[in-house]
């Protein structure tokens, strides 16, 4: 079995994986980082979005072996102790989550947007969220949260 080493939330992690092991399964099953979720098998829902080398990716569509050497950040790696990341705080403040299942992917995706586009318009936020499904919120408060989070991030994390 191939061995992989990657930095996950700032910590170097090594493990043997099968070639077919998806990054999301590696995170959830081998590292017990269950905040990253799986909501579909066709790479559309975005519940599995994490950052790889600073960019948002769908961890259900990446092989763990292909992430060898990568720097991965998951939802568990955002907060600084009890201090939430400004985007997490914005989701809380604006009720941008209900059941919470899509939330980790939504937050990770939103941060990537703001890293590229520090003050996105409402339309840009909605368009960016093409790859993230939410069935609870109707997106209204998610969009509000992302825009507020962008303000709070002051133009990138």
């Amino acid at each position: 079995m191939p061995a992989v080493t990657m930095t996950v939330n700032g910590v170097s992690r090594s493990a043997d994986v099968e070639g077919r092991t998806l990054l999301v399964d590696f995170l959830r099953e081998q590292l017990a980082l269950t905040g990253t979720h799986v909501g579909c098998d066709t790479s559309q829902c975005g519940a599995c979005v994490v950052h790889m080398n600073g960019q948002s990716v769908k961890s259900c569509t990446c092989l763990a072996v292909d992430a060898d050497g990568a720097d991965v950040t998951t939802i568990e790696g955002l907060a600084n102790g009890a201090d939430l990341h400004p985007m997490q705080e914005a989701f809380r403040e604006h009720h941008g989550l209900q059941c919470g299942f899509c939330t980790p992917g939504m937050v990770m995706s939103a941060i990537d947007l703001v890293n590229r586009n520090p003050s996105p318009s409402e339309g840009e936020v909605r368009h960016w969220l093409d790859g993230n499904f939410c069935r609870c919120t109707g997106y209204h408060n998610i969009v509000k949260a992302v825009m507020a989070g962008a303000d709070a991030m002051g133009g990138g994390s």
């Binding site: 209900q98 059941c99 909605r126 069935r135």
Partner: protein, 791 residues
């Protein structure tokens, strides 16, 4: 205490941030698939690939010999175990009971829909189980399938069940047929409509999952499951399927990633996993993937209807007759039979005074995935039909769309409808006025003209509606065929230092109960919001409950909690009276303090609680402790109501519909947390808009699902939706102490007809008079082509 049950501490009515968010935002939620038990094995469920077949041999030998495999079971292995029950017995017009076929957990002899479970394979790993399942050789001896209502009801159609002639489960009715027909016959105007309410896939983003476990030393089974109602699962699984007593069966529904009705039913998977864990004395886990969910989660809607409305010369509705065929799928899921009957036919008064109403419904078996509740459940289907029909009536009579609704509004309460319901309270003019103003209805023509300048066809649509929520009075539903009561249970445990644990039989899977219920308790008990935590989702922790669906959690479950608080206060008065050396009758409770009336002598709830647990100086004969439970059986349904307005722009070249504005004016009863209530409205609106414009679950003639993934089943995305303009006009429910009604289903009930009415309005200059849901680009383009061809 004020008349609305408030102590005035300000928690009720405040948009407090949610208690549950901290764990969800940091990845520390605990959903079923996040749980792993020591020694856990993994299951793969082999599912039928055909819609209808006799099962010949099912050869599992190769799978049993595959690496890592612990066991393979098929239907006959579970023979002797009870079938999966349905929760509601419907009677046909002639008084006969519905056809209620057996529902074995795994197929025996026949398969009746794609996705039906044929075998379970248990192995050390998920991949081993899946790979071994691929080695099972199933001899499917194909039978002709009926995949649609039309096919199932055609003469000589193949039968899903030999005992169900014409594939009919029941032929039900409500209302007075003769009166409705006579009123229509004598009407000055009649308007008819044929509508399809298309099948939908619920698509909670968390796929279902289950972990069965068995402790041979205690004989106790535990099932972790993605359920909206763990006690209901315990009842059905224990009493009907596995024959287990309640004290040996624990159901845990931890964090659940959305339900929308699809996590109400007791599923075969829950029985199979629990039974298999018992067979192997090991924990066994199954997690659905999305492709599997498309063929195994219950689906929603799927009606074909025809209806006629009679009006007098003034546009007053005089009679309504509705005939509906409802697709139930291949097996009867838990609420399958009541959704198209008692959650549908009784809604046809809407907010109108129509004096004679009749509705008949054929429940039909097909070779498709079972149909059950989906956000709104029956009420969206009724509201869509009625509000499309009212728009057609306006067009036919030349009466303005708003005016014709206003002419028919109910204004005197309580109001007894001709179809069983009695509305306690409402103000339909107020929500209509509010919606017209908030949507700038009167300014629409200018917007239509502006859009025309850009080559777009702009339309506006309206829907005025009521819903019946807060299900439901047990005696009433019992008389209608329900096999369970629909009360709810709340327990309030005041700890010795004055902090509070609240136990509810409802289940929160996005609704924010941990916050809303804490607000109610904090306010009514006069304690700090942070001092109250809400526990749900574990049958070993909570006395009992019926769960969360039908917008019942606050109206029924919240009232149970409120009543438990009142019991705590009543006991607290006895303790305080003793401590204050006063008569119990002289003790008043407010803001967390028990006070001797007319004095400044008082004891706080904390002091009383400590005394209750350290009863050194204590009323004689009174039990120590401060914990109370209330079972609350509602006196009536609740009746949220409102007006929704939608505005669309159609691209006449492509048929693309852009939803440009949605306005809601809603009366959802007293609001505990406005932030959460608005969030519920947003979500329901998105679900309803999804039905109106995007979502459609389609089968081919052989019963294969055409839309079996997110590649071809269109889920609403952020870019498909506008911001929502939400407005409230509140009347209080008269029969629960909080005055609350319910909100979770409002959007999915109210908005679909508003959207379709807007699309038809946009296309009406071209001669289009109706379009089916979803109004996809192709459908709109085809409607335009057809209308132009007629010119």
């Amino acid at each position: 205490m004020s008349d609305n049950g408030s102590n005035g501490t300000g928690f009720i009515g405040a948009s407090l941030k949610r208690k549950e968010d901290a764990r969800f935002l940091t990845g520390r939620g605990r959903y079923t698939d996040d749980i792993n038990l020591p020694g856990q094995l993994y299951a793969h469920l082999l599912r039928s690939t055909v819609a209808h077949a006799n099962l010949g041999s099912v050869d599992t030998s190769a799978a049993e010999a595959a690496p890592g495999v612990h066991a393979v079971f098929t239907g006959p292995d579970m023979e002797g175990v009870g079938g999966v029950p349905t929760g509601w017995l419907i009677h046909s017009k002639d008084g006969s009971p519905m056809v209620e076929p057996a529902h074995p957990a795994m197929a025996i002899g026949k398969v009746r829909h794609v996705g039906e479970i044929v075998a379970i394979v248990v192995a050390e790993t998920r991949d081993q189980a899946r790979e071994a399942a691929a080695l099972i050789d199933v001899d499917y001896q194909d039978l002709p399938a009926v995949a649609s209502l039309e096919a199932a009801r055609a003469d000589g159609a193949p039968l899903v069940w030999d005992e169900a002639d014409g594939n009919l489960c029941y032929d039900w009715e409500v209302g007075d047929r003769a009166a409705a027909e006579a009123a229509i016959d004598g009407a000055a105007h009649t308007v008819s409509i044929d509508v399809v309410n298309q099948r939908l896939v619920p698509n909670a983003i968390e796929p279902r999952a289950a972990i069965g476990n068995f402790d041979p030393t205690t004989g106790e089974y535990t099932l972790y499951t993605t359920s909206q109602n763990p006690h209901l699962i315990r009842l059905l699984l224990g009493a009907f399927v596995l024959g287990l007593p309640e004290h040996k069966l624990r159901i845990v529904a931890p964090d659940v990633g959305g339900g929308f009705g699809s996590k109400i039913p007791h599923y075969a998977e829950e029985a199979i996993l629990t039974w298999t864990a018992g067979q192997l004395a090991r924990p066994v886990k199954w997690t659905s993937d999305r492709s599997e969910a498309f063929v195994s989660d219950t689906q929603g809607r799927d009606h074909i209807s025809t209806a006629t409305l009679g009006l007098d010369e003034d546009g007053k509705f005089v009679g309504l007759k509705v005939s509906t065929q409802a697709n139930l799928g291949a097996y009867l899921s838990t609420f399958a039979t009541c959704v198209p009957t008692y959650l549908y036919g009784i809604l046809f008064a809407g907010p109108y005074t129509t004096p004679a109403i009749y509705c008949e419904v054929e429940g039909v078996f097909t070779n498709t995935v079972p149909v059950d509740a989906l956000r709104g459940a029956g009420r969206p289907e009724a509201t869509y039909l009625l509000e499309r029909l009212v728009d057609k009536a306006a067009a036919a009579t030349g009466i303005d769309r708003v005016d014709i609704r206003r002419r028919n509004f109910i204004r005197e309460f309580p109001y007894q409808t001709p179809v069983a319901l009695q509305y306690d309270q409402g103000d339909y003019d107020a929500t209509l006025d509010l919606a017209l103003e908030a949507s700038d209805w009167d300014g629409f023509e200018a917007r239509r003209n502006e859009a025309a300048g850009r080559g777009k066809l702009r339309g506006i649509g309206i829907s005025t509606f009521i819903e019946a929520c807060g299900i439901a009075p047990s005696a009433v539903v019992g008389s209608l065929g329900a096999r369970a009561g629909l009360y709810e249970v709340g327990s309030v445990r005041v700890h010795p230092t004055g902090s509070v644990s609240v136990f509810t039989g409802t289940h929160s899977h996005g609704q924010g109960h941990e916050t809303t219920f804490a607000q109610i308790v904090a306010e009514t008990l006069g304690v700090d919001f942070e001092a109250v935590d809400v526990v749900h989702g574990d049958t070993n922790a909570i006395p009992f409950g019926m769960g969360t669906y039908g917008s019942r959690s606050l109206a029924v479950g919240g009232t149970a909690i409120y009543n438990a608080v009142q019991k705590v206060i009543a006991k607290g008065k006895k303790i305080a009276a003793h401590l204050l050396e006063a008569s119990e009758e002289d003790i008043e409770f407010a803001d967390g303090n028990f006070t001797v009336a007319g004095t400044d002598r008082s004891k706080s709830i904390g002091e009383v609680a400590l005394t209750a647990y350290v009863p050194h100086n204590y009323p004689e004969g009174l039990e120590p402790g401060l914990e109370e439970t209330a079972f609350y059986d509602p006196l009536n349904f609740t009746f949220p109501a409102g007006t929704h307005v939608a505005e669309v722009e159609v691209d006449p070249e492509t048929g693309e519909v852009e939803l440009v504005a949605v306005t809601g004016a809603d009366d959802v009863g007293r609001i505990i947390n406005p932030m959460i209530v608005n969030g519920q409205l947003h979500g329901g609106l998105a679900h309803g808009i999804g039905q109106a414009l995007l979502e459609h679950c389609e089968y081919d003639d052989e019963g294969q699902l055409v839309t079996g993934s997110y590649m071809n089943y269109t889920m609403p995305r952020a870019g498909d939706l506008p911001n929502f303009n939400i407005n409230h006009n509140t009347t209080h429910c008269t029969h629960n102490p909080l005055g609350v009604k319910g909100v979770g289903e409002v959007g999915s009930i109210g908005v679909p007809p508003a959207v379709i009415n807007a699309v038809v309005d946009a296309l009406s200059p071209l001669g289009v008079t109706h379009i089916e849901m979803p109004a996809t680009s192709q459908r709109v383009w085809q409607a335009i082509q057809a209308a132009q061809a007629q010119d």
